[in-house]
């Protein structure tokens, strides 16, 4: 009876071991990584490189590293060791975190804001310079008011 209990205990430990390892494994996915790294030959993010043989090799390499229980950061570091920092698609991924990495986000935002403000300003000015006859409903109301005033003046 005691021997059977020990056997059951050993079996439970052996069966539970892979699950424990899997739980400790920092799981990431190919889809999660391929948008953050480049296909160096194609010059596009790996996720957009569909037919390039080099991209297929890179994906296979990432999948091998995922199966090897590597974390996302470790996989990106391994890719940078193979292809250099240019393989990292996100600014700041190279680890230097310089001013350029901040400006990559700031400049487009400022550009879009300036363009929107410029267009709004141009539209307001354009509407302001148009004559009353060009102003649709407002122009019509103005003409009606003037007609009424004239009719009153001439007692018609």
């Amino acid at each position: 009876m005691k021997r059977a209990a020990v056997l059951v205990g050993v079996l439970a430990t052996l069966l539970g071991a892979p699950a424990t390892v899997a739980a400790q494994c920092p799981r990431t996915s190919l889809g999660d990584i391929e948008d953050e790294v480049m296909c160096p030959v194609c010059g596009t993010p790996l996720g957009l490189a569909t037919d390039a043989p080099q991209a297929d090799r890179e994906r296979a390499y990432i999948e091998r590293l995922i199966a090897d229980c590597r974390s996302k950061d470790e996989i990106k570091a391994a890719l940078a060791a193979q292809f250099g920092d240019a393989v990292l698609a996100l600014p700041g991924d190279a680890g230097d975190d310089d001013l350029g990495d901040v400006l990559v986000y700031v400049i487009p935002a400022v550009g879009i804001a300036l363009a929107a403000a410029g267009i709004a300003f141009a539209v307001v000015r354009w509407r302001g310079t148009r004559g009353p006859q060009d102003r649709g409903g407002d122009g019509l109301a103005e003409a009606e008011r003037r007609l009424d005033a004239d009719m009153e003046r001439y007692e018609l």
Binding site: P40, V41, Q54, R57
Partner: protein, 184 residues
């Protein structure tokens, strides 16, 4: 007339012009560099760009300068490139021939995974020296746009011929054999 010169049409015209300009710049920037071919067509052999890279084995570096005085066939390849598979056995045969005449083939594994490149070399039993350019930094210097590409460098370190695409026996006979016969 006033409508045409209004700010909104002007802004639209400017935006269209900016897009056209951007497109033109993109096309011009992606134009392949053909300085080597132009020099060769003029008969003006230019010095090969400097090249110093780590060995694919991972031990030490080698420089193109180290091979001055030899005829060098510098072959840029990658294990994922299908035409590279076709030309590799031919390159190895020619490496053996060139060694006897004071020359050699040097392979530059470019934008490739080290393990894949080593498997490739084992599979094709390649015996010539292999350098590694994982980042592909030498592509710009040599104007490389695809793989494989091969540069024939004479004993004085000048580019004597170039092949964009796989080499064949006729190219080797016409471009390499004649340089091997020259002693300087």
């Amino acid at each position: 007339m006033r409508r045409v010169l209004a700010p909104v049409p002007i802004a639209v015209i400017c935006a269209i012009l900016a897009l056209v300009g951007l497109l033109a710049y993109g096309l011009a920037a992606n134009e392949p560099d053909r300085k080597v071919e132009e020099s060769l067509a003029r008969g003006d052999l230019q010095p090969a760009p400097p090249l110093e890279l780590p060995r694919l084995s991972g031990v030490g570096t080698e420089s193109l300068e180290d091979y001055r005085g030899k005829v060098v066939l510098l072959n840029f390849w990658a294990s994922w490139c299908k035409p590279c598979r076709e030309e590799s056995p031919l390159l190895d045969r020619w490496h053996q021939r060139m060694r006897r005449g004071g020359g050699m083939v040097i392979g530059v594994d470019t934008l490739d995974l080290v393990e894949d490149a080593r498997d490739f070399i084992r599979e094709y039993e390649l015996s010539y020296p292999m350098l590694r350019d994982g980042e592909g930094a030498s592509r710009e210097r040599f104007g490389i746009i695809g793989f494989p590409e091969t540069f024939v460098i004479d004993r004085r370190g000048r580019i004597a011929a170039v092949r964009r695409g796989p080499v064949d026996d006729a190219f080797m006979r016409s471009q390499v054999a004649r340089l091997l016969r020259k002693r300087s």
